[in-house]
Symmetry: C2
Subunit: 291 residues, 2 copies
DNA sequence: GCATTTACCTGACTTAAGTCAGGTAAAATT
DNA sequence: AATTTTACCTGACTTAAGTCAGGTAAATGC
């Protein structure tokens, strides 16, 4: 019986090999050997340093040199010496190279679309794919400070409000269109952080300068695809570090017992439970931390 | 922002390519070119017909011939003419070939284990991987009649009872050790079906001959990894076909409103709701279908 | 300032993979 | 029975990928 973890993983590998291999094969759709196509795409993704591309693709220096020359002869890339170190070379795409790279991207998109369109339960499938990818990439999660009105932030906040609406027994009213608190979550009064995993927004947290003698942590959310990876802790640590940068000395936050994992997280993170400090109807738990 | 389906799928492909590629590379761990190793493994998996292996691996007939001869020279496989068609050839592993194939399997297992061990949230990760694999392989689901006391069946039944225990407000008492009903779910009185996806049991259903003038459908279960693929319908259709084979004319079943998707399924499947026909404390919905 | 290291290039080579045009014997078709 | 098709084999060839031993020029270390 193939129910042990190793068998399950190997079954997964067998299942995705065919589909993912088909995606890779878009690198062969334009009459260019795989090696040259991979180099072109590495450059298209923004890699400019020859040594970096070589390390990324695991190529021999001689082979890399020949592949690059081939692309140069095709008129797709140009190289010039690194001004800071004339031994090194900087590569970039010409206009023709941009066009060719875009064609590869389109091919990949088309194959991905064709593969996906064969599946009826796309939402569930993509959710599971997000989960697998987030777990596999968990060491490469990147956090960026963004404006809470930026699309990445709005994406997270919509998911957050949607979840509140589902989980609060009394529901939750979304008033996202013009968030009155957004202005308080930008520097220098506050901040807003979005966590990305290979480009996909998977979590957020806000720091809201209230003008009073404390600041508030708001809208801590982690995508279902990324739960169990310790991301909420990382977000809390990061926003706390920013609070210190902004000379904030007292952090407060409120939450609801319908979100028991949030309550547990705040307790574990060393926040102290305090009395109600606002008259918001939703929260029933209140925390504080002095920095 | 990379939140559209195509970007999410491509992110998934990027994330798994590295890991799955590492698994594939176990085919290179024994000093044999990839092509030869793939042929050896195809034979080890039970493929015996040369033409079938050629089609499966997408090889040219000349190349296949040479790879096979190489393996023969290594003493790993033997070929003999197909007795039914002397043009065709049957390949099988020698003892040395068996040993070599087992070594490849061990390599793959070890790599899989190493990859998995790097992940803390294994249960959630494997659940998501099962879901992805089941969706990708949904056209290759295989249903087999098995004894309800066989390990594959017990695996499904444990999952089934576990889910009942979680979902019934009053809980559910598992008395699996010696299932008194198992004997009524084997031919000629009844039947038990397990659905497999590339070896993993992902669903089951039982047909219980009661001795009375009706038979019962019992223990319809679909793994969370395979929901949304229409498997429950397939299982119902299959068990109904078997009931006809056994000259059963009336099918009954009971279920509980804590399982709304089951109630909805039975209604959609054309079963008629009837009055309570037993004094089991758990069910509160009763269905019948005349064949 | 001089030796060493580094980044890239070049030429000669090997290996793996695959293609293509025949060829043989058995099976299927007419 | 003759023809065609099929399954496999063989030899000659091409291409892609990669390896290895030098070589040049710039940067670095002592």
């Amino acid at each position: 019986m193939q129910t042990d973890p190793v068998s399950r993983f190997r079954r997964f590998a067998r299942a995705v090999t065919a589909e993912v291999g088909a995606l890779d094969s878009s690198f062969l759709g334009r009459g260019r050997p795989l090696g040259a196509a991979r180099v072109l795409n590495a450059i298209g993704q923004g890699r400019a340093d020859v040594a970096e591309i070589r390390a990324y693709l695991g190529l021999d220096s001689g082979l890399m040199s020949r592949l690059l020359r081939g692309l140069e002869e095709e008129g797709l890339v140009v190289t010039r010496p690194d001004p800071g170190d004339a031994r090194r070379r900087i590569v970039s795409l010409t206009d023709a190279g941009q066009t060719e790279f875009a064609a590869y991207e389109r091919l990949s998109d088309e194959r991905a679309e064709a593969l996906l369109s064969r599946h009826a339960d796309q939402d569930a499938l993509l959710a599971a794919m997000d989960r697998v990818a987030s777990a596999l990439l968990r060491e490469k999660i990147e956090m960026r400070e963004v404006d809470p009105r930026a699309p990445e932030a709005v994406h997270c906040l919509q998911a957050y409000y949607g979840e509140l609406a589902r989980r609060f027994p009394q529901g939750f009213e979304v008033s996202l269109s013009r968030d009155p608190e957004a202005g308080a979550m930008v520097r220098p009064r506050g901040s807003f952080i979005v966590a990305f995993s290979d480009g996909l927004p998977i979590g957020c947290v806000g720091l809201k300068g209230t003008g009073a003698d404390y600041s508030e942590i708001k809208r801590l959310w982690v995508s279902p695809a990324a739960r169990g990876l310790g991301l909420a802790h990382q977000l809390m640590a990061r926003i706390e570090a920013i609070a210190r940068e902004l000379f904030i000395t007292v952090l407060r936050l409120d939450t609801n017992s319908a979100l028991p994992e949030a309550v547990a997280l705040y307790r574990r993170a060393g926040l102290r439970e305090i009395d109600r400090f606002n008259d918001d109807p939703y929260p029933d738990h209140f925390f504080e931390k002095r920095l």
